[in-house]
């Protein structure tokens, strides 16, 4: 890049010198050309106008449906606002934040969410990598494997959650019957959390695998062959060659899945409804808002979740250097 620009600078500088000798008067005001104020041509202006025009509808919708509500929810979070007692609505400053942050329910939910996120993302990474390798390298039925693996991704989360729910319902479920007819695992905290994790992992591993597979496709076959010739075992080829080359893809996949896992809701709603302290922060917010109709506290939780997610994203992008997808210039080619 820098070489090219150097070269072109040289071109322009050299041009006036050469032209003097050869073409007589044809070398004009090359020197002053660079200093000229950038003037947009008609075509460029039209391009800018068209670009803005084409993006405007999408941008407006996104801002109207997210931008305004975010501001509004910050405003709501500073008020006492319970729909059951609408008369008592008043500005209370940070009172709601104090209430929420000193509530054990919130911290339990926060801990549960963090635990579920970490455990399920780690499992998904391991299983997803295995699945990606299988989809990428299998020599039998590649199309079949790829098709089948897409089913968990596509299926409605609630449907999958019901399948797991019935599988673990005593009497009804084939899995419940395996552990014993009278143990209702969904009513015990740790087993219930494990089941939630397994449902989450089952559903989202294929997505993780697809993202990783895209990374695998970036590892040149010749590189692996070279590593094999250099005496690397299969495992060494994986850890020393594949993983480093795939690192950007892995980080993007982790970022996506971590943020997604942090908003876990559907599975918990169906499997336990948040009983036995298995509620996530999303679940708590929903309960306060729709069941409790407490807009002030619900909004406070919304803001807190938003801040947490922003921190997670920040850590990924700044600390691990995850390249946000689509953040490249994307200029014309």
């Amino acid at each position: 890049m820098s070489e090219a620009s150097q070269l072109s600078a040289e071109n322009v500088a050299g041009a006036s010198a050469t032209a003097r000798g050869v073409r007589g008067g044809s070398a004009g005001s090359t020197g002053s050309a660079r200093r000229a104020k950038p003037v947009l041509s008609e075509g460029k202006k039209a391009e800018r106008r068209l670009g803005l025009l084409l993006c405007a509808p999408a941008a407006l919708v996104m801002i109207a449906v997210t931008g305004w509500p975010i501001i509004y929810s910050v405003w709501l979070s500073l008020q006492r606002f319970d729909l059951r007692f609408p008369d008592q609505r008043e500005f209370v400053g940070l009172d709601n934040y104090i209430t929420v942050l000193s509530s054990p329910y919130w911290w339990t939910a926060f801990g549960v969410t963090a635990l579920l996120t970490v455990v399920s993302v780690v499992l998904e990474l391991v299983l997803g990598m295995a699945l990606a390798l299988i989809m990428h390298r299998t020599i039998v039925g590649r199309g079949l494997v790829r098709t089948v693996a897409l089913i968990p991704y596509g299926i409605v989360t609630v449907v999958a959650a019901f399948s797991w729910y019935y599988a673990w319902t005593p009497g009804t479920g084939y899995l419940a019957n395996l552990v014993g007819p009278d143990t209702a695992l969904l009513t015990e905290r740790l087993p219930a959390l494990a089941i939630i994790v397994s449902a989450e992992v089952w559903k989202t591993t294929p997505f993780m695998a697809l993202l990783l597979m895209a990374g695998l496709a970036l590892v040149p076959d010749d590189l692996l062959k070279a590593a094999a010739m250099d005496g690397a075992s299969a495992w060494q080829r994986f850890t020393r060659v594949m993983v480093p080359v795939m690192k950007p893809a892995i980080l993007v996949a982790l970022l996506f899945r971590t943020l997604d896992a942090f908003r876990i809701f559907d599975n918990i709603f169906v499997l336990t409804s948040g009983a036995q302290d298995t509620a996530s922060v999303s679940m708590q917010t929903y309960n306060n808002l729709i069941k409790g109709l407490n807009l002030g506290v619900g909004s406070t939780m919304s803001v807190l979740i938003f801040i947490t997610v922003a921190i997670i994203a920040f850590v990924f992008v700044k600390v691990f250097g995850t390249a946000a997808p689509g953040s490249d210039q994307g200029g014309r080619r």
């Binding site: 084409l54 999408a58 929810s73 968990p152 609630v158 943020l259 619900g298 689509g326």
Partner: protein, 281 residues
Amino acid sequence: MAVIAGTDSTGRKIRWTLLDIVVVVYALVPVLWILSLSFKTPETLNDGNFIPRAWTLENYRLIFQTPEFVRALANSIGIALIATAIAVVLGTMAAYAIARLDFPGKRVLVGVSLLIAMFPQVALVSPLFEIERSLGLFNTWPGLILPYITFSLPLAIYTLSAFFREIPWELEKAAKMDGATPGQAFRRVIAPLAAPGVFTTAILVFIFCWNDFLFAISLTSTEASRTVPAALSFFTGASQFEDPTGTISAAAVVITIPIIVFVLFFQRRIVAGLTSGAVKG
């Protein structure tokens, strides 16, 4: 994991076949289980058998006689289709501009849509609930369509701009040289090449809208606009005294069918769509 291409020995084929089977079992067991439940008779419903001992279509007959479900199915289809259509149109316009044109604010737009893609939807539920109530959008189709468009736009924009970038734009120049007006160049050269990408994006967006549960359960209160996933969680069976397991399973199978169809027919496209937007540069 053999990297060096050797002979396709039977041993390797068998090993890969075994691995393939593990994947197939993994992916299909929960789906087959709910399918099995939907075919069980009330008597065998609670026997815990993976394969039904007695088969019946009764659950399907019942579910289609339940007005709540039929209405929810209509809501689901209508809302998902409308949201998909709008999101794809808006997304196509924006993605074309992002991939093709140079204009101020492009990076901001890409950044904002990335933010929204990662945004915790639950954080929007409280304000949207309140705003929609005051605007009269609560518990209506538009009340769900709007957030669906918003949250699927980033997906649509990424996938489509990745597709658009793949189009060799020299073709547009070539068309102009061949005597095409800009309109003709778009219609006869660019549009046919972009169509597969638009179609793929439509599938992905539809799956997203079809899947949503949080908005569906928070921004609706009656069957007027409740979609199937939300209705399922409120479903108590065809009559008060009946165990809803069979009917819920049947309903679950019904809304899974479109997904299975998409996956079976467009596997290649979906994979391309999901991966192209995600890992680039």
